[in-house]
Assembly symmetry: C2
Homo-oligomer: 298 residues x 2
């Protein structure tokens, strides 16, 4: 199994178009301590030819340009055989609009997410003749590309921002936010780019995986408030912090996990600064902070 982090940032990317928080300011200045990062996406392949893209970020065109494995090999062709969505957030679905141009592929998601997309006619640029959109049930393994087994599982999350009503339930384990367990050749990779808190059932899921790519949106629950760029907590956005008694660092520390990697990292998160104390703290806890293009062979 080969996995490539196409985009390691949360929604907005690094730098974010309208932001000069400390991390974005370094990125705009081209400071080598902060690598620019595109928005959350992962590519996985087993047979060396047909790739699954997990979440279609708004930056997908740029991500394909940076990833020779995903570039066309014939007049009209793409190695991207399938796309899988873990939620309906804009940073995970907007890139579907860039996958038009008559190219056949399969779009996998839960019925809940598929329904949200079908309600938006703009996604009809993916014609029904070329792009099938099967509903995937939680807990039922399927094979999105040859040789790769995928199983969706509910994680504590929330509905996408654009579907929020007056009351927003956070932390429910339903079909709106899922994680994925990938299996091939006896190896297991868990992908959880969004997670509101680390529940007991999630801990069970993640125990003994060879590679975990996990929600690294915020360092602390009040990152955005501290940075002065917003009023929302990590919790309100559906993202568990790294630090704290119920943070991911502590809550996942005793699990037997081969390698731990943070993905979906928000521009406000100080772990993005190479060589910073925060980066060292997270690395000392056994975690890697993903950058675009980081790849793994399992």
């Amino acid at each position: 199994m080969r996995a490539i982090v196409l985009g390691s940032a949360a929604g907005g990317g690094v730098p974010q178009w309208n932001c000069r928080c400390p991390v974005c300011t370094l990125a705009w200045a081209g400071d080598p301590r902060v690598s620019p990062r595109t928005q959350s996406s992962l590519a996985i392949c087993v047979d060396g030819e047909r790739w699954l893209v997990v979440n279609a970020s708004p930056d997908i065109r740029q991500q394909i340009a940076a990833t020779p494995q995903l570039q066309p090999k014939a007049l009209r062709h793409s190695p991207i055989a399938a796309v899988l969505l873990t939620n309906g957030d804009v940073d995970h679905v907007a890139g579907l609009l860039s996958l038009r141009e008559g190219q056949p592929f399969t779009l996998y998601a839960t019925a809940d997410i598929q329904h949200s997309l079908k309600d938006n006619r703009v996604f009809d640029v993916l014609s029904a003749e070329r792009v099938s959109r099967p509903d995937i049930r939680l807990g039922e393994p399927f094979e999105p590309v040859p040789g790769l087994l995928a199983t969706l599982f509910a994680v504590p999350g929330k509905v996408p921002l654009w579907l929020e009503g007056d009351v927003v339930a956070i932390g429910q384990e339903a079909e709106t936010t899922v994680g994925v367990l990938f299996e091939a050749g006896g190896k297991r990779l868990a992908y959880v780019p969004g997670c509101a808190h680390v529940s007991g059932s999630l801990r069970e899921r993640l125990d003994r995986v060879d590679l975990l790519l996990f929600d690294g949106t915020v360092l602390e629950d009040d990152d955005l408030i501290r940075a002065g760029v917003g009023s929302k907590t990590g919790q309100r956005m559906g993202h568990v912090p790294m630090r704290g008694d119920t943070g991911s660092l502590r809550m996942l520390s005793d699990l037997r996990i081969g390698r731990r990697v943070f993905v979906h990292i928000n521009n406000t998160n100080p772990v993005l600064v190479d060589g910073s104390d925060t980066r060292r703290e997270v690395e000392a806890a056994g975690w890697t902070v993903a950058h675009d293009g980081l790849s793994f062979t399992l």
Copy 2:
């Protein structure tokens, strides 16, 4: 008036994600004869501070990264004060999804286009409190950013691909495809990135402008068929060819226009190859083939 071509390519950009037509093949190979191009967008400013972006392409994040004038100057800020849409095509509206993050701006479009967007809840990421969406009537001048007068006019076009029904009317002059006349300091710029044919009324509109940025999607009506990448004619896509008796080169040749520039150029169009016979032919006819970052001061 300052104008910057943010993106000079048609939908898909150059190279296009799933294409190895002759032009895309050169672009994938990094051949210096074909500059990579992002999707159709223009930025305009008069006061040096507040910019109007005309059409929000899927590549807008990358375009902002390449354009210092559009980068934030404060903690949360953007010089992009307004966005104007000339139609509802994906290559002109998908970038709206990247302009989320709580940033106020004004989104101008005809009632027809506004209605199409409102029907798609995914665009609710632009919250109504921060992003107002006024309907603009054809022929009524408005001031999208200080000092800049804009007037929309109907051009022969078609509805966006994602709104096509069983019967597709092409070439009607309605609210679905518009051109824009910009005026400041006694200078006039006409922006017409999509146009199905050059009508008499359009010729009248474009006569005596100082700068024309015009639909350069296809060289000939059957570009895509010749390239073997599709069955649609330029006409069917709502784009007048450059060449031919009713092509833009001939139909606009006798007008008094200060400078003529092709924009919205499809990846299949051989004018994209620097130094090619086709490029020389178009340049000999008095036209510039736009590249990303091309800028004008009027």
